[in-house]
Amino acid sequence: MKAIYLIFTLFLGWTSVQAQVTDATFGDIQGRQIGPAKMSGRIACITAENRDPNIVWVGAAGGGVWKSLNQGTTFKPMFDDYTQSIGTIAIDQNHPDTVWVGTGEVWVRNSVSVGTGIYRTTNGGEKWEFKGLEKSERIGRILIDPSKPDVVYAAVMGALWGDSEDRGVYKTTDGGKTWAKILYVSPSTGCADMAMDPKNPLVIYASMWDFRRLAYTFRSGGPGSALYKSVDGGATWNKIQKGFPEGNLGRIAVAVSPVAPNYLYALVEATKSALYRSSDQGVTWDKMSDQTMTSDRPFYYSQIVPDPKEAERVYKPGTTLWMSPNGGKMFQSPSVSGGSYHSDTHAFWVSPVDNRLMYLGTDGGVYVSADKGNTWRFVQNLPVSQFYHVSIDRKDPYNVYGGLQDNGSWMAPSRKAGGIKNSDWQNIGFGDGFYAYGDPDNPDITYSQYQGGRISRTNHKTGESKYIKPFSEEGTGKLRFNWNTPAVFGAKSGWLYVGAQYIFRSKDKGDTFERISPDLTTNDPARQQQEKSGGLTIDNSSAENNTTVFSISESPLDENIVWAGTDDGNIQLTTDGGKTWAKLNAAVTGLPPLAFISHIDAGRFDKNVAWVTVDAHRNGDLKPYIYYTADLGKTWKSLVTPAIEGYCHVIKQDPVNSDVIYLGTESGLFISLNKGIDWCRFKNKVPRTGVYDMAFQPEKKDLVLATHGRGIIIIDDLTSIRNLTEPILAKDFAFLPVRPYYFTSEVNQQDFASDAEFIGPNPSGAASISYYMKKRNVFGEMYLEIYDSNGKFLKKLPAGTRKGINIVQIATAMEPPKVPKSPNLLGEAAFGPEYQPGKYSIKVVKGTDTFTTDLVLNDVQNSPHSTADRSLQRTTLMKGYNMLENLAAIDEQILATRDALKAKTAAAKGSNLKKIQSLIADCEKMHEQISATQPGEGGIAAQVRLRENIAEIYGAVGGYRGKPTNLQINALELYDHQVQDFGNRIAAIIKNEMPKFK
């Protein structure tokens, strides 16, 4: 055993301290999602409990699973530890706490994410169990046998970007322990949809779809597409498409009417797409409609939803929602007097209890209708927005800018009194949004773009927008722009770079462009066929544009050094401001060919350095790729470790500590503290969602993440992480610095939100200290003591006790003043005066150990108040404070005297008794003049007495850091005389009267 122990220790010895960094190391550092839920994001699926339709489950394209118990008034995320791309959610309606989630969205646009299999909860989402199908990538439908809940069918669409045999219809008979593939067609054909006969669970319909997406094209349809039926629970299958069009079919949606199970609907994509209905369970088909909406982008919408109450009523979600009152013969909008909702509807559920109630999921969130789809109410609390990029400005509070999938470009403050509400988000561009910025020199100007390089510069003061997209010139040929065109400002120069197949540079914010590169791509004509993209249904939205520049990075140290990456695999570099370019691919060992060079980060500390992420998922390769060069691209090193999950979108070196590197992948945020040697996923309130971009805010030292599914997430104050060095990590306890603390003021707002609105939290406004602990403090006292600069003890405070980084907020105010007794709370005096700006010291006591650090409280930044005014404010505030304490002491004396007098009444007689009673009355009267003695309603004192008067001024003076008004000062003087008068009166009673009644 001894030998084993030795070997074991040796193993540990070989591992660097940083390799032991886990998500717990980051401790209290956590993500702060500021929204937005204003426009929400793409919803992939919705379902609700049949018996109680208030209980609704929503699956987002990239934002996880959410559950509401109240028809959408509030939602709770249920799936944050797992893949955030959701394909389908199925409730076992007979045991509604059992819910299955199939991951991987099936609305397979160019930016769609990928799943990791199937999960089940049996307790309403409290705990999830992984149930296999890990290579399924996309699951679009799950059917549960109502009579045998362990019998489940999964429609596995499978891989989008390449062949795979892990697709088709799968069945489990043991609740997901084992699965059998019961219908398989070909490596390019997956199961798109399924339906079960509500009267006979052995009858299953399954539509198979032959499809393929590539970086430069999409194909829907092929020989594999067909509609199948099984009458024996999937043991055998037959094609049922007599009457469908000849030739290859595309994607087929299939559904059985819950109220008329003989009605089987098939929405068939073909050269001529149409809706078909069978009245004999698929033996024969009638073509019902070939209205153009039946061919509406089948890769993006392919559902047909029969009404659960009315046999002839059927819905077709598409770019908008359609309804047919006659079995599909004719479709119209269900909205007669309403119909205002975000376009692109992917998810739709109608209540079988009351078919007027319905939920609709769109590219812009969830809507609820209570009148059969006539009018719609927006759910304002699902922050599942999908950002492509993010930037920040340098204001205080700073603003965040970014563009979203199908929701334009927006900006919002990073902090706002009362929290960041939906109404704080301001729209600054339309379409699908990508890179967006505020102009550093002019606060009225923003930059935004929509798909295919359509960039605008907008002046919000004049309302004018200038279209600054680069255009062709003689000799350039047609320009090619990526869906997500790079438009970036140089880190050194501030010049604007825009990538087509060339790079354009503007030194005057887009008024004048010069082309500074040749075609940097492969310029392969085979990859430029997007006008033919779509397969059976042509769809050229610029989403398949390829052979374009995708990433541009100017060196923060030298504006002549510009790195560029293309969407077809080239890494290019100029060191002379674009005169000459070198393609660096050959030096990058293991570089996957023709992949997106998703991001290049030019080194911030050494101009020879660059960090590169490569995203090959569009070639069917989901692995992460990261490369690093320290010699201007002559040699490269891969920085991938098994700790990294998901294909890579962005890498950035910390601007302060060159060892700290941040990586965004399709599976979240990863951090390395040692230049990319070891990585660890950052989990604390950053779900496993795609992190597409990130920005550093220099003043607040924040990291701002653009996620493609959970909006904007801010990690406040990186200072502690930046100082998490090897020697610190080796210690049991070590202080870490935090960003400088400044007192701030905030204007209170009377702006009541409802429970139904998402409100992004603000950063903590309290002063704090930070320390690292190797282990949680389970046993023994651990607390803080705060001392002023003279070493005077001020107070004792609780300490953080967790493993990793502890951020302990310090209440930097004196104890609230003691106040005279009353049945009412005195709100204005509930807080003590804040400590004076200056240096304090904090002692952390942990068992027998003590550790000491400084806490510096800085005065308000750029305070408009003179030192004299600040000092007058302090004196006045302290005067009010002392006056309240003084009055409290006097009142206590008065009441004590009264009680003492009362005790004497029993023994007193005659004039003595009269005198005592009169003195008691005097005391009562004084107390009544000092304090409100009647309880007030709702915190409003019924009576305003001296205590209330002083507190009003105390509160007002404390709330403003400048000069008090003359009348505040005068009134305090006046009240002070009154306080003294009460003091004299009770002193006189105690001194002159009390001795008389021995």
Partner: protein, 239 residues
């Protein structure tokens, strides 16, 4: 190297088997040993004095419990006291901060939570007799500390997920989902800074979090055991 690998995996195998063999009873036994359950069972009454920190305020605070099931909580600010009492059958709440100057009888839901609090031995002790359902849900990482998760469900469907440190066997977190007025109310309680009081382990710091944010911290300064607590303390408080 090969030899090392074999040894290494053998070691893993051994420890793996050991862990998976631990049953609910094993974990609870260790937990009771760690907290000094034997001593606790002999404790008839208990008073803790400390402070309650909420929204930047520090409120002097104490709790008293007496067997079999009496409980009292009291805190004072600006000379006003909020008091909650429970005598095992009935309970009252006096909260002048909510504008109530008369003690109010607890609702059924509030009474339920008082009953849970009044259980000196903790809900897990003798759970079968108390009519709870308790299961060991396995091991979970809780903010970097490996924990046993023990789920307790009451007859009313209230859920208490206990996280017991797999190293020290101390309770470090309870996640609570309680039905209040028909709706679920969820909160997390974190226990730390355990101190030894006459052989008992008592948490020196208890943080309550709702939606991940600390809403209340209770610091215990003093624990007194087996002191005389008059019955009247647990009756309807005086106005």
């Amino acid at each position: 190297m090969k030899k090392i690998a074999v040894l290494f995996s053998a070691l893993m195998l051994v420890s793996g088997t050991f862990l998976s063999a631990q049953s609910l009873d094993d974990v609870l036994k260790e937990h009771y040993k760690a907290i000094g359950m034997e001593k606790l069972l002999k404790v008839n009454s208990l008073k803790t004095t400390g402070k309650l920190l909420q929204s930047g305020l520090e409120i002097p605070f104490f709790q008293m419990a007496k067997r079999p099931d009496s409980f009292r909580v009291e805190g004072t600010f600006q000379g006003l006291s909020f008091i909650q009492t429970y005598n095992g059958k009935e309970g009252w709440n006096l909260n002048p901060f909510a504008g109530a100057t008369e003690p109010q009888a607890f609702t059924e839901d509030e009474m339920k939570s008082m009953k849970y609090s009044a259980d000196i031995d903790g809900m897990l002790w003798n759970w079968k007799e108390k009519g709870y359902t308790v299961t060991l849900e396995g091991k979970e990482d809780m903010e970097g500390t490996s924990c046993f998760k023990i789920k307790l469900v009451t007859k009313d469907g209230d859920v208490f997920n206990h996280y017991i440190d797999a190293d020290s066997y101390m309770m470090i977190r309870t996640n609570t989902k309680v039905k209040v007025q028909g709706n679920e109310s969820e909160s997390d309680t974190y226990f730390s800074n355990y101190m030894q009081v006459e052989g008992l382990a008592m948490p020196g710091k208890v943080d309550t979090k709702v939606n991940g944010q600390v809403v209340m911290t209770i610091i215990t300064d003093k624990v007194e055991l087996n002191i005389d607590l008059d019955k009247s303390l647990f009756e309807k408080p005086a106005k």
